[in-house]
Amino acid sequence: MTAISTPGAGAAAMPRRQVPAAIRRRRRLLAIANHSVAIALSIMFLLPFVFIVSTALMTNQQMGSLSVWPRPFRWSNFTDLFEFFPFWRFAWNSLLYAGLGTVGVVLSGIPVAYALSRMRWRGRQASFVLLLSTLMLPVQVTIVPLYIIFVRLGWIGSLKPLIVPLFFGDAFTIFLLRQFFLTIPQELSDAARVDGANDLQILLRVIVPLAKPAIAAVALFNFLYCWNDFFSPLLYAGNNPDAWTLAISLQQLTQLSRGILANLQMAASILFTLPVLVIFFLAQKVFVEGVTLTGVKG
């Protein structure tokens, strides 16, 4: 009896013990497989960074060879760079464009987004549709007449054509802010109105404080867009080296100093990219959430 019942009990107990083990093993294998794929992809995404940084630290002689590791590390590449071109002036121009542009975009975008999301007036829906339609069109559609206007104003060769239009509302910023303003409960505005606040006070004291995360994301996007922008600065400021931004100067580096080698070029690229990466790591949460906001609710 016991001899028969024991294997029976064992058979009953065995699957209970064995199945979790098998599943655990399968799960572990699956996790290992997933991680290997993720690690392989990570290496592919990181390898270009490794090559670029190591090249930036190589001597001129070493670049011709096939070795990957710099021997010796030539940190002076980063300081030699400043002899080739006026890095700080270009950095200042980039900062002016990105900084003033961001201020303009945010200042002009907030009231428009408020009117489009939290005020009732005739023509609101039509205005929003028009705004959306401009969102679809690349800048290239309007550059010819704009260029002609800026020629007549004498603004070509300066940063004005880049900055001034940003004080008159940017469709993408307005769109994102509007979407966020819509999520703020209407009761908050109503309560403020009962207390005697007008629309301007509601905007400044209720909506703006609540919308800080969205405003931060929008400001960040604009700053980086301007910092990275190449087409508009090339078009409007390309003819005047005094007004070049870093993006332009980096591309023109080969012309500025003929025969400049890849190590210095990569060092310059790193100096240009570094502020962006620092901002990214400091504000990563704002960033990833902001991108998600653009994609899913857009």
Binding site: V144, Q251, V288
Partner: protein
């Protein structure tokens, strides 16, 4: 007496109603004016930097204009030249179509694939997400210069290919390999697309997968019948953005073309990197054929409008919106 007192009473009643109506109308007016005041930055910007340029661009497209002398009306000449005699226009159209037809789908597919890898990883998701997203943060000019170096014929990528005994293309020096080189760069910068897909996939309700499991669906069927329909709005969004970006495609190509040698024309090697915007830039701002450039930009405007409308119409057949519109 009653009539005497009644009449003024009715009159004041009426006057009061009229007064109320007037006040209401006045407050509606005030609200309308206030809204317009709030809207004013955009209204001014929209007129000055959009309506006026688009309309005057149409006018310029019928003229010959070099900025220095007054525009001369030439009728449809610009458009006729564009479609019948300008060989580089068709090269630019072909190269741009290549971006839309090859690079955009590759990027969407790779974005979905990397997002799929990320949702399956349980530990270290934050780390992998940051790493995959990082290349997107590199400014385009810097990324393009980096890839010019990485893909130069004696550079690191070819060293790896040589080590594996694979053919070593000349990449940006070879017209046949220049565009694939740019495609590699686009795949490296997949982060933005990936993040959007990742968010969409995380939004898919678990119950749908559990139901699919109960019905005995394998991983492929689950992907085909649950994941894909649920993320189709985002695929749709990415395709539209991709088409628009195809027309915008300029910076990478410009940097790559000029990096080989400063004197290289835009679009080199041999116009293999001449994209629509490159051609427009060349004509308008290097050759100062403003009228012709305006015609090019109007064709671009119309094509983008038509593409977007077609995509939106076709979307009804393949985009699945959960519970109404987005």
């Amino acid at each position: 007496m009653a009539t005497v007192t009644g009449r003024p009473a009715a009159a004041t009643e009426e006057a009061r109603a009229a007064e109320r109506r007037r006040r209401r109308r006045r407050s509606a007016w005030r609200r309308q004016l206030l809204a317009l005041a709030f809207m004013s930055p955009w209204i001014i910007g929209f007129c000055a930097f959009f309506v006026y340029p688009v309309v005057s661009s149409l006018y310029f497209s019928f003229t010959k204009y070099d900025i220095l002398t007054d525009p001369v009306w030439v009728g449809l000449d610009n458009y006729r030249f564009m479609f019948t005699s300008d060989g580089r226009f068709w090269t630019a159209v072909y190269n741009t179509a290549w971006v839309v037809a090859v690079i955009v789908p590759l990027q969407v597919a790779f974005g979905i694939a990397t997002a799929m890898v990320l949702i399956r990883v349980k530990q270290g998701l934050g780390f992998y997400r940051t790493v995959f997203f990082l290349p997107t943060m590199v400014p385009l000019v810097a990324a393009a210069l980096g890839f010019v170096y990485l893909l130069n014929p004696g550079g690191p990528v070819n060293a790896v290919l040589g080590f594996l005994h694979l053919p070593e293309p000349l990449w940006f020096r070879d017209p046949a390999w220049a565009k694939p080189g740019l495609a590699l760069m686009a795949l490296w910068m997949v982060g933005q697309t990936m993040i959007i897909f990742l968010a969409a996939m995380l939004d898919v309700p678990r119950q749908l997968y559990e139901a699919a499991d109960l019905e005995g669906a394998g991983p492929l069927q689950r992907f085909r019948h649950v994941t894909l329909p649920m993320i189709s709005p985002v695929i749709f969004f990415s395709v539209i953005i991709g088409v628009i970006n195809g027309f915008r495609y300029f910076t990478e190509a410009y940097v790559v073309s000029k990096a080989g040698d400063w004197d290289n024309p835009v679009g080199s090697p041999q116009d293999s990197l001449l994209f629509y915007t490159s051609h427009l830039y060349n004509q308008g701002f290097e050759g100062f054929h403003m009228g012709y450039a305006a015609a090019l930009s109007w064709v671009m405007f119309v094509v983008i409008m038509v593409c977007t409308l077609l995509l939106i119409r076709s979307s009804r057949r393949w985009v699945h919106y959960q519970g109404g519109f987005r």
